[in-house]
Symmetry: C2
Subunit: 370 residues, 2 copies
């Protein structure tokens, strides 16, 4: 947990150093970029490989940063094509399982991984457990939409979902919006293929009905694909398949357009000069929507702080995700979720508390199998 | 069908003049923008409202254009919140059903509608029927991705889909790529949440297996959200829910970024000058990705040419869709699809032809209910 170095509180985040397409180089360098007196990073993985990365980096990693990096040995690595639950159960000595275990054991305040998302979810379910009364955790991204950020859940924790799961995601993301982003009464939109309540697939039709009759949820109604980036609502809810595809599509489309604008600014002498004059503003704008600056999605619903990154994360993305994890830890995100969810359960009263939106014995058993 | 005016072949497209958020003003003006000696537009809807739009337009619509516009009276309108099949069956005198009927009756070479997508699909299924041996039509968009266009199917014809449907979409879109875009051996990617064949929801896992074992399909494997706009494959296949959400998200994200770049170019004197110098290149680029210039999706799988537009289509989008319909008619898209699908069925031989990917009695009966 948060440790004291001198008079200062130091947050401790565990990083799955072997997880990701460009690990351990990019993970180690991402950690080195943020490690310091207020943030200690514990790198889990093969000590020799991690040390080699640090040796190669040489003077580009400061002595101060080095003092706040710790390596915890883990011999195994979980690959992207491994079956998540089997891999987590079979590889206790993997960088992911060891990192998650540091949170479970109280040595770290949170864990970051850019490895196999399914395995990171399974490790969290097994080592940290779900928040009492919840069926499924959801992966929650904060989109850098102009004006104010948009919370988007589920971006990939569950490839299949039921209406009750989407309702839980809506509730958790609303709490996130209130507690972390300080949005007073966040509006919730459900992704569909038309605004009308009769539009959508079976999952959406049923979820719409469920959300509309849930007291305490500020349900706006359906939102379409175009609305996700347009600040129509504070919280956008969808299943993990659609959410994952949308998140990656959005990131790719925006970076593609920025690339094409840059190319356009090289097409003539006048354009080149124009590009130079615009350089600062374009750089500022690019930074404002840069997904590397807003990397990492929060796994909401487990009893510990878990931030999951894309497999192709760069050192910049890893550094950003570590920063997000540290901030969420200082804001006590998980504690607040637990308290609020417990209050909601108590509020729904007696029997209803067990059978309502946030409790369902049968569902819990299914999720427990993970 | 194509009619002769003097020595010139004239293509005839029926337009559901009352369909769309901004109908009939925008539909009528879109038609007026493209009507001429080579393209006749038949506007279906309330004659008085359509005539009023043309009267208001005054001199901005040329006499030539007016000569190649025809109005066919239809008193009813199908709204966006009506149940598709019921609306089509109950409103024989609606602008949509009358327009589709013109294609069925041979008076028009194709139909364009920006109205209720589900109703346009139902009208096509009822009035035009499916191509023999096909289970489900799919809505196919041509995305203006840099370098070369990407074919994206299904963008909303089916909110639920089965593996056999996605396989059909892949086959039809491959034929479209070959016959209309002249791509020799189009690669097909299946949208999922990871490249590995074990990643995805149940629909994707099963479809992946099915596609991988289908001879004649140039199956690339899974593609992720980010790959849709990156020219990784020629044809991107997904279910109609995911496809519709993605299409709208993509359009919204790109127009948002272009707006933000414009804003950035107003932020300082230097930036303003830069913006002026870049104006031409940015305008060219904007045009190259403008969804209004690439409006309309083709409903592949019915025995007639149907192009469906977003409900919020502007006159520019309607004009573009009418142009797309006219081109596809001149290229004999539907005839080519019928011939190729019949050949594929014959090629799969005897019994297999009926029970294989392009035939399934039970499925056909389900689809026939629409």
């Amino acid at each position: 947990m948060t440790s004291r170095t001198g008079h200062q509180e130091q947050t401790v985040i565990a990083l799955d150093a072997m997880g990701g397409d460009f690990a351990p180089e990019e993970t180690v360098m991402g950690a080195a970029a943020v490690a310091g007196p207020s943030l200690k990073i514990i790198l889990t993985g093969r000590r020799r490989e991690i040390e080699r990365c640090l040796a190669v980096a040489g003077g580009s990693v400061s002595d101060t940063a080095r003092r706040h990096l710790e390596i915890v040995e883990a011999q195994e690595v979980i690959g992207f094509d491994e079956e998540p639950t089997k891999a987590v159960r079979g590889k206790e000595d993997s960088s992911l399982v060891v990192a998650t275990g540091l949170v479970a054991g109280g040595r770290a305040d949170g864990v970051v991984s850019a490895g196999n998302t399914g395995a990171a979810l399974a490790a969290a379910m097994i080592k940290l457990r779900r928040i009492r009364g919840l069926k499924r955790p959801g992966l929650c991204a904060v989109l850098p939409t102009p004006g104010k950020p948009t919370i988007f859940i589920d971006v990939g924790a569950n490839s299949e979902a039921r209406p009750a799961h989407l309702l839980e995601f809506a509730g958790m993301a609303s709490i996130f919006a209130q507690e972390v982003l300080e949005v007073a009464n966040p509006t919730v939109g459900l992704v569909s293929i038309g605004e009308e309540s009769v539009k959508g697939n079976e999952l959406v039709l049923e979820t719409h009905r469920l959300m509309a009759e849930t007291p305490g949820l500020n349900f706006y109604g359906n939102v379409e694909g175009r609305d996700i980036v347009r600040n129509v609502v504070d919280v956008v809810v969808t299943d993990g398949f659609t959410g994952n595809v949308c998140l990656k599509l959005m990131e790719s489309t925006s970076s593609l357009i920025v690339e094409e604008v840059k190319k356009a600014a090289r097409r003539s002498l006048a354009a080149r000069l124009g590009g130079l004059l615009l350089k600062k503003e374009l750089a500022d704008f690019k930074k404002s929507i840069d997904t590397e600056e807003f990397a990492g999605a929060y796994l909401l619903g487990v009893r510990g702080l878990v931030v999951i990154c894309h497999g192709n994360s760069s050192r910049k993305a890893i550094a950003s995700a570590l920063g997000s994890a540290a901030r969420a830890s200082r804001q006590n995100l998980v504690g607040k979720l637990e308290t609020r969810i417990a209050a909601m359960k108590a509020g729904s009263g007696g029997k209803a508390g067990d059978g309502g939106a946030l409790g369902d014995k049968q569902e819990n058993e299914v999720a427990n199998e993970i």
